[in-house]
Subunit: 503 residues, 2 copies
């Protein structure tokens, strides 16, 4: 085989792995949305089997050999080209995975599948003890994973790299620390303001059928394509792709809270728009894959917060919201509504937190899981540690574990090292939005006219179609001309909040 | 390896194939019920890939060697024991599949997946020409399949054996001919009666939400377990299992026709009850698999017709039906309703046909597909041939292909040789029901009291838990003490219809 033939064989192999991964994504989506309660045990077996198959192919020595040869060929002379990035990125993943024994991969898959089912029950019954053994096992397996791969600084680096390739714990901790240092006085300024948005208007009766329809309408308006995706209901909202034109988002409804499903839907639609914007013909290969979870999250946060919580957006959508929810909103002004959805106030549930305090929720989880992975904290002590951190950072404590340590699906699904990417996403979102406005001009007029495609197409071009040809750090720099920083986010928050709270 | 170790290796291999097959079942169920319209092309690729994987493992020479060795061992001294049947049945499947080239298997999978999507459109648009190329290709591939496997009498034998292992075209044609000979005068007797049930009462307004709830209630009452299954909406109703406790049925609703979804739901629930009644610990192995599609259909027909269309059943359910559909049924008596749902009258849509003429729909399809496979009929001429047969057998012709040759999903999904099993099911259903009543006594009192578990448990024991340890012919004989015959069905129909139509 010459290099070109080898490269074709490589792509074929990667695309076959993707058939299994996308099938796996369907099994998982189905488990969250449709699986009969009795079907859990066998679904866990199916997922375990498939994980083993994916691992076997991903670590096939013949595949490794191909990657080794190609990474020494002319083809990688441009590391960020389609071909170069394909070889180098697949090689990075191969090397990482090859270090994991099949037994560990299968145990993790089984523990995650069963863990999620146990978590759902434990959360419903507000019974941490029910989930505790699964949680202990999961963290112990993740630590084992880090040891198997190896690290220089901290085992947490290995886990972080799964979600934000190339990022280090040290760098991330530093940027989050800087963010926190500026957030705390900003949140304090809000607290000291005499203005208090009336958030009770968001807690009125919002019939679920109307929420579903309105959420669908808004997510379609910003560009989520329902011919290439769908929306379902789950415990914990997520976005999953199981094909280049099959991107599924989920949400959960609370009949007496507007934000939960509406901003959740915009958020997941933002993820979905990213997936739908990737290059289909490169599906299953790095140039057609998302860059990192931080970049993924930047897309969801951008649509959720920078668009969906903007004044211009509600110029367009508030009259429609009033017609969908006449009971709840008939006596509410657009200005009151805008203040309410931008209210900043310590709260307990991450996915319902405001744009500013949200990052404190993340930093808590980032610190806790780092401590567990580094052996400084036992999983059995997580509820107490969780509550203590909430007291320290936000001045409040959950009255139940269901609203505390049990609220997120992540750990039950083995997603350790993942949380930080949410705040990285907030940082990138502000930087991308600034860059878009500096190229396209002020976007408010477009938003007021219900025109979002200009921004979407800019993101398609600048971010989505770049895929994973370079790491997030480089992508951010090349799109914005700036390195990663907390300042654009802080500036954005300060501008908006100083207007809402008049400081 | 000793024989026991070999047998364990065999079971492991078979269960791994089942992981892939049950995953495949989910991909297909999802395609029918949830897949976004844009997702079809990639789903076809996934199914093609998975079909190839299943075929590769099902025809793995090492697996064949294991089967060869075990089939000469002591373990098969009792061919209908768990162990014996596992070896012999898997060997039969292995030998059949090994004869199919991987290329053909993959082409078939692709053609079926795309064929179903084309069929849905062609049917919606009533445009046979749109579906014609797919149909031609599908039948040609099925003929190729029969040639690859080889046959003595007719290529159709090979296809029939896929669904009714061990049955021959000759035998099936004979029993269907005998059935037809008695059906025709019986239907003629109905036609000559002065009584005409008022079937317009079934064509009133039956709101879909109420139909869904009532169908769910009735299917749960007869024993379909919703903790181990679910019910969704599709174009063409089906039942699919994707795990020992994950059995999914589908139905379609017509807001102005009661029968379509109600009896369809009971029918699919009957299939589901069979799947849920199989031995879980043998899942993926012949003793934990259905015996044949004829036996499968006997279970759906038994619950749909012998239970669901009985007078005793409606003693229980008619008052509930009146409360679900007060507008439609307030002025209808139980007796009028019972006559209407047992009305016998030539009609165009198989799945909505009555218990008696239904078999003529089947015999038409059986004869047409046999003719195509044997080269006596071109697929392009199917619409004309279809219409001519309907004229000949039922005295009516469809006004459109959508209500004619395009009405069934089967051919688009490559299911050729399948239709006959529907009538075999009707025959077995009557024989099983007679056997149950001769052991358990008259079941009417139980049905009137809403008590169906006695019958369900009898079927669990006598039929479901036997799995595929023996062929359908032998199973029928051992459960009923009789060989396959058209007479119990004819007797059952004559008893009921002579009362309804007074002849």
């Amino acid at each position: 085989m010459n290099d070109v033939e080898k490269f074709e064989a490589l792509c074929r192999h990667a695309k076959e792995i993707k058939y299994l991964e996308s099938t796996n994504a369907l099994l998982e989506w189905d488990q969250q949305t449709k699986l009969p309660s009795g079907g859990g045990a066998y679904r866990a077996e199916q997922l375990t089997f498939l994980a083993g198959e994916i691992h076997r192919r991903s670590t096939d020595p013949a595949y490794g050999e191909l990657l080794g040869e190609l990474s020494n060929s002319e083809l990688v002379s441009e590391p960020n080209s389609d071909v170069g990035a394909t070889v180098l990125e697949l090689k990075h993943r191969y090397e990482k995975k090859s270090k994991l024994p099949k037994r560990l991969v299968e145990e993790l898959a089984r523990a995650c599948s069963l863990g999620q089912q146990v978590w759902i029950e434990a959360r419903e019954q507000d019974d941490f003890s029910k989930f505790a053994p699964s949680l202990k096992q999961l963290f112990s397996l993740k630590r084992e994973e880090a040891e198997a791969v190896g690290y220089e600084d901290t085992p947490y680096d290995v886990l972080l790299d799964d979600y934000e390739p190339g990022a280090t714990t040290r760098e991330v901790a530093a940027v989050l620390a800087a963010l926190k240092d500026e957030l705390v006085p900003l949140i304090e300024a809000v607290r000291c303001s005499d203005r208090t948005p009336d958030i009770s208007i968001l807690r009125r009766s919002y019939p679920i059928a109307a929420q579903a329809e309105f959420g669908r309408l808004a997510s379609a308006a910003i560009g989520f394509d329902y011919e290439r995706g769908r929306l379902d209901t789950t415990h914990h909202p997520f976005c999953a792709e199981m094909g280049p034109s099959d991107v599924r988002i989920t949400t959960r409804y609370d009949a007496s809270f507007f934000n939960s499903s509406f901003f959740g839907t915009l958020h997941e639609a933002g993820h979905g728009i990213y997936e739908q914007g990737l290059r289909s013909e490169q599906y299953g290969l790095p140039p057609g894959s998302y860059c990192s979870l931080g970049i993924h999250e930047s897309q969801s946060r951008l649509w959720e917060n920078l668009v969906g919580r903007s004044r211009a957006f509600w110029e367009r959508f508030f009259p429609q919201a009033q017609s969908f929810f006449p009971e709840a909103l008939k006596d509410v002004s657009q200005c009151e509504f805008f203040a309410a959805i931008n209210d900043v106030r310590p709260s307990l549930i991450r996915v319902e937190a405001d744009e500013a305090t949200y990052n404190l929720h993340i930093i808590i989880r980032f610190q806790l899981e780092q401590a567990v992975i580094e052996g400084a904290l036992d999983t059995d002590d997580l509820p107490e540690a969780w509550n203590a951190k909430y007291q320290e950072f936000l001045g409040i404590q959950p009255e139940s574990n269901a609203n505390g340590v049990l609220q997120d699906i992540h750990w039950s699904a083995g997603l350790v090292g993942y949380f930080a990417t949410y705040s990285l996403g907030n940082l990138y979102a502000s930087q991308f939005f600034d860059a878009a406005e500096s190229e396209l001009g002020d976007l408010d007029q477009a938003f007021k006219a219900g025109e979002f495609s200009m921004l979407k197409e800019w993101l398609n071009r600048k971010v989505h179609q770049q895929g994973a040809r370079c790491r997030s750090k480089l992508l951010g720099e090349s799109v914005t001309g700036q390195s990663l920083s907390h300042q654009p986010l802080i500036r954005h928050l300060r501008d908006k909040l100083s207007a809402v709270y008049d400081f």
